[in-house]
Amino acid sequence: MGTNPILEVTDITQQFRSGDQKLTVLDQINFSVEKGTTCAIVGPSGSGKTTLLGLCAGLDRPTEGQISLNQIDLGPLTEDQRAQVRNEHVGFVFQTFQLVPTLTALENVMVPLELRGTNPKEVEQDARELLNEVGLGDRLQHYPSQLSGGEQQRVAIARAFINRPKILFADEPTGNLDSETGHTIEELLFDLNRISGTTLVLVTHDHSLADQCQRIIHLKNGRIHSDEWNEQSETKAINQ
């Protein structure tokens, strides 16, 4: 365990009920992620990656165990309190981009800060700058349907970074893109991580994307199969 964790996952178990059957999707997961690092969660389909990501981001409650995000224990918080935590500390990037189809690129980016009640002028200024940074300065008033997949994901990244999140969760961020566009998105994500010091947690099938992360957590059948440090080339065996 690191000394300055932004995300701490302790003894997480997630079970679903399907008829009379209990289905254990995640079983006794423990790990923590340090500030500013990049971490990939990989594993075969059905291994529980997305479920784990959802729990870490406070989108769902675990059946057992404890999660704290930026030293805030998510357990006792109500749904709306967790929403507030997400608004202040978390950014998201989804495989299917998940832009609001009825909002323009600019408005999509503005949403997280508008929710906070920040001065609209400032919000718009920030959003324009971010869209410029991701190379979409000339697409501000376009609706998602008028943008290509890569462009949509860049808007999503701008939206994810506008609230200066301490941690960014990405679910297969390049999963719906061709390799060239995917590569651009990867670069953008890691650049922004480096510049703003945001912790990056991403779920992926893509080995080349995972390999760029400092740490790779491998899930199998709802358990951590391996947890490797990439950059320092040190491998930590995890006692499960």
Partner: protein, 851 residues
């Protein structure tokens, strides 16, 4: 609900709505027609009440009306003199009028007028000068109802013969204050000078005459003391004195208008409810499409209330806009209503803008849109941010607990109950309406589901792909089949029940066209005219089907107690009207084929000198008088008391065209009493009928004739006019049903697009896609129409069985015609709304529709 008022929610609601304005408006459009109906009716009701209040004096034409059935006795005359003021007299009775120019006759309402009636409002004539001419007594003339003038092609100067008097026509009566145009359909009005009354020789034994005196008081005197004085005179003179004041007339009319308005309002409310269901269905589909948006917002920190507020605001604002459009439309429609009902209104309505109606329209429209959108909106609060990562496959309302769902249904039922109670001003009526609607909706859904199951089960599996796919489309996920069957089916149910009931009644009344049925009745035949009249008819080769003597009498005592004593006795359930009415009885030595003995024994001859005579009471009057075999009765036969007892009780088929009697006497009792005769015959055609009437009236002017086919025509006109007004209101439901259809098609277009594109991608031709869609709408139309029709046949049968006492046989053509019409409309609207799917390439459609 602070988030509802937050700027962010409103901003997001606007941003989200701006690119789908048209689509959203379609969702809400279903309530427009219902609101329009509400506003139109409420506004019209308001205007009518206002008019009645403004024209209250014109309704009676005087400050007070006193009416008796006998000539005013001296005591009453001297009291009238004492009262002073300005007075006018009308002696009113039914009689045949003959128009010598063309020889036509018609049973009319004759009014002999003396004085300056009406004191308020005007008796409108054409030409206007005719009234003045009529009132100058120097050369007596008559004013004839416009309907008669038109019917017989009469003009000013032609003659009219009433009884023994022939007068020139000075003009047509176009409007009598306080009377409806429909009144002239029943008895066309003919005014003659009072001075000519005696010369008509029509006022004689057995005539039914109303003596009316009108008063106008210059001083604002209290009417109440006059009323109580007249009440005491009624007592001491032992005669009926009816009093009518302006307030009473106003009240009666206000009540009638209120009842009609309430009824029409409820019919209109059904359209609004249907619209509500349409809104619920559209919003449901819409919210389902918004789950991912809501989840993403939740991921970025929006609270559940904030996300719900966005769509709540949209529902309220759009509901308000829909209500606004409906309200404006309703204000316009109000101007169409007078033409529908003017024949039944005794006043010329002054239409005004009713702010109450407008407020009510805006409020209920918005309210209905909100209440019916509540379920999916509440479900949206339950949408987890997790759905941004994983798509929710089921319908969003599955997220709600049963408790929340039933509470919402309860709230909807409570809203319906509350509003219906407000409309009818009776919680009982409101409750019955709500229960009725719940039952109707339940039965419609049940029938619809049964029909669909049957079709699915027995559908031939070897039919072509197009047919199978069209049918399968009705079961696609998130389908709106039930909503459509409900809304179209209910519209169909309403209209066809109305139609069936009307058809059933008219069929039953259509006795005149039956081959052997009597169709011409002569009555008020004096004893000395009876033989001559019968000879006259025989000369014309007309059969005397019946020739019945009639003796008028009143009840004097019942079971040994005077009728006054029985009437005042609150412990008995004897009906007052049955005690006080004038009985027209006949005597015979046997029962006829329309009568069946129920109890006791029929005695054909009796001798009053040997003690009380046995009479036979009809079942209905026996019930109202609580008669049992052996009960004693005393009749006052025009001054002569006759003791009788109930010898038998018999069932009478009152629906036959012939005189039927409550009390039937044996022969040997009433032969010497003053009596009049009724003769019934049958003519082959209208000309024969006119000839016979003409001949009789020429010879016996006091005898009146009823031409049954004319009566039938009048009833037909009446029923048509009334049902036109009701059908007009039911039409709102049909239109709403079609709008719901249109909006449902628009709402579920995305699904259809996906299916069509998929099919086209794997090689379906444009023609096949069109066929599949057409088959889907064909099924939808046929099944909805049948759902409504099946239930309306049931409703009509119940109405016939319990209410009209008629066995209902559905008209097959109505069923076939109704089904074809509704199906054709469904296919037409469905295809029009789907044409964009067909005219574009798959990729174009996908790009456009996914935004």
């Amino acid at each position: 609900m602070l988030s509802f008022f937050s700027g962010w929610s409103w901003k997001m609601a606007w941003r989200d709505a701006r690119s789908n304005k048209k689509r959203l408006f379609i969702y809400i459009s279903a309530i427009i027609i219902g609101v329009a109906a509400q506003v139109a009716i409420t506004s019209f009701r308001d205007s009518l009440n206002e008019t009645i209040n403004n024209q209250s004096k014109e309704l009676l034409g005087a400050d007070l009306e006193v009416e008796t059935e006998q000539p005013f006795p001296d005591t009453l005359r001297s009291y009238f003199d004492e009262l002073g003021g300005e007075q006018a007299t009308i002696t009113e009775f039914p009689s045949m009028a003959l128009f010598p120019k063309g020889g036509q006759t018609r049973l009319s309402n004759i009014r002999a007028l003396k004085g300056n009636f009406p004191f308020y409002g005007t008796l409108e004539t054409d030409p206007v000068s005719a009234l003045q001419q009529f009132k100058t007594d120097t050369s007596p003339s008559a004013l004839v109802d416009q309907t008669l003038m038109t019917q017989f092609n009469l003009s000013v100067g032609d003659s009219i013969k009433v009884g023994q008097v022939t007068l020139p026509i000075s003009g047509a009566v176009t409007k009598v204050p306080g009377e409806t145009a429909a009144a002239s359909m029943i008895g066309p009005r003919i005014f003659i000078p009072h001075s000519m009354l005696d010369s008509t020789k029509l006022v004689q034994q057995g005539s039914r005459i109303e003596y009316k005196r009108y008063f106008k008081f210059e001083d604002d005197r209290e009417i109440a003391p006059i009323e109580s004085k007249l009440d005491s005179l009624e007592e001491s003179l032992a005669m009926d004195i009816d009093i009518e004041t302006i307030e009473e007339r106003q009240e009666e009319l206000g009540e009638a208008v209120g009842n009609l308005g309430k009824f029409l309002n409820l019919v209109g409310f059904i359209a609004l409810l249907l619209g509500g269901i349409g809104v619920a269905s559209s919003i449901h589909v819409y919210i389902n499409q918004k789950i991912s948006t809501a989840s993403v917002l939740r991921c970025f920190g929006a609270s559940s209330n904030q996300t719900m507020s966005i769509f709540l605001i949209q529902a309220i604002v759009l509901g308000f806009l829909g209500a606004l459009v409906g309200t404006l439309m309703g204000v316009g429609i109000q101007y169409l209503l007078p033409t529908l009902v003017s024949d039944f209104l005794p006043v010329d309505i002054e239409l005004t803008i009713s702010w109450l109606a407008i407020g009510l329209g805006l409020f209920t429209g918005t309210g209905v849109a909100l209440v019916f959108a509540l379920l999916p909106l509440l479900a949206l609060r339950k949408a987890s941010p997790l759905y941004a990562l994983r798509t929710l496959e089921e319908s969003i309302t599955q997220l709600l607990s049963q408790k929340v769902k039933w509470t919402t249904y309860g709230l909807i039922a409570l809203t319906v109950f509350g509003y219906a109670t407000l409309l009818t001003e009776s919680w009982r009526a409101g409750g019955l309406f709500t229960l009725g609607m719940i039952t109707a909706f339940g039965l419609l859904l049940l029938t619809a589901q049964l029909l669909m199951k049957t079709v699915k089960r027995y559908f031939p599996s070897h039919w072509t792909y197009v047919w199978r796919q069209g049918l399968a489309n009705l079961y696609r996920p998130h389908n709106q089949t039930a909503t459509l069957m409900l809304s179209l089916g209910l519209g169909m149910l309403l209209v066809s029940t109305l139609y069936f009931s009307q058809d059933m009644l008219m069929e039953e009344l259509d006795f005149a066209t039956r081959d052997d049925a009597p169709n011409l009745i002569f009555f008020d035949i004096q004893s000395d005219q009876n033989e001559g009249l019968n000879n006259l008819l025989e000369e014309q080769d007309l059969p005397i089907l019946q020739n019945v003597p009639m003796v008028t009498m009143r009840l004097d005592s019942l079971r040994g107690r005077s009728i006054e004593a029985v009437d005042e006795d609150t412990t008995t359930e004897v009906r007052g009207w049955a005690l006080r009415r004038e009985y027209r009885s006949t005597y015979r030595d046997s029962l006829i084929d329309s009568e069946t003995l129920l109890e006791g024994e029929w005695v054909g001859t009796a001798d009053p000198s040997e003690g009380p005579v046995p009479v036979s009471a009809a079942q209905e009057i026996a019930e109202d008088l609580q008669l049992e075999i052996g009960d004693s009765l005393t009749f006052d036969v025009q001054g002569v008391p006759i003791s009788a007892y109930v010898g038998s009780i018999r069932k009478v088929d009152f629906q036959r065209v012939q005189p039927n009697f409550f009390m039937l006497f044996p022969t040997g009792v009433l032969e010497a009493a003053p009596q009049i005769f009724v003769t019934i015959t049958r003519t082959a055609d209208a000309q024969g009928s006119a000839r016979a009437q003409q001949a009789v009236v020429q010879e016996y002017p006091n005898v009146s004739a009823i031409d049954v086919s004319r009566i039938l025509e009048t009833i037909n006109q009446f029923v048509n006019k009334i049902s036109l007004a009701i059908q007009f209101m039911a039409l709102f439901s049909i239109i709403t049903g079609l709008i719901v259809l249109g909006s449902s098609v628009a709402t579920s277009r995305f699904q259809r697009v996906k299916e069509s594109v998929l099919l086209r991608t794997i090689g379906a031709s444009r023609k096949q896609i069109i066929q599949i869609l057409a088959v889907e709408y064909l099924f939808l139309g046929v099944l909805s129409a049948l759902t409504g029709l099946i239930l309306s046949v049931g409703a009509a049968w119940l109405l016939g069985y319990f209410y009209f006492d008629i066995t209902f046989v559905p008209n097959g053509w109505v069923i076939v015609g109704g089904t074809v019409l509704v199906t054709a409309l469904t296919i037409l609207i469905g295809m029009i709304n789907s044409r964009s799917i067909l005219n574009k390439t798959p990729i174009e459609v996908l790009r456009a529709e996914t935004t």
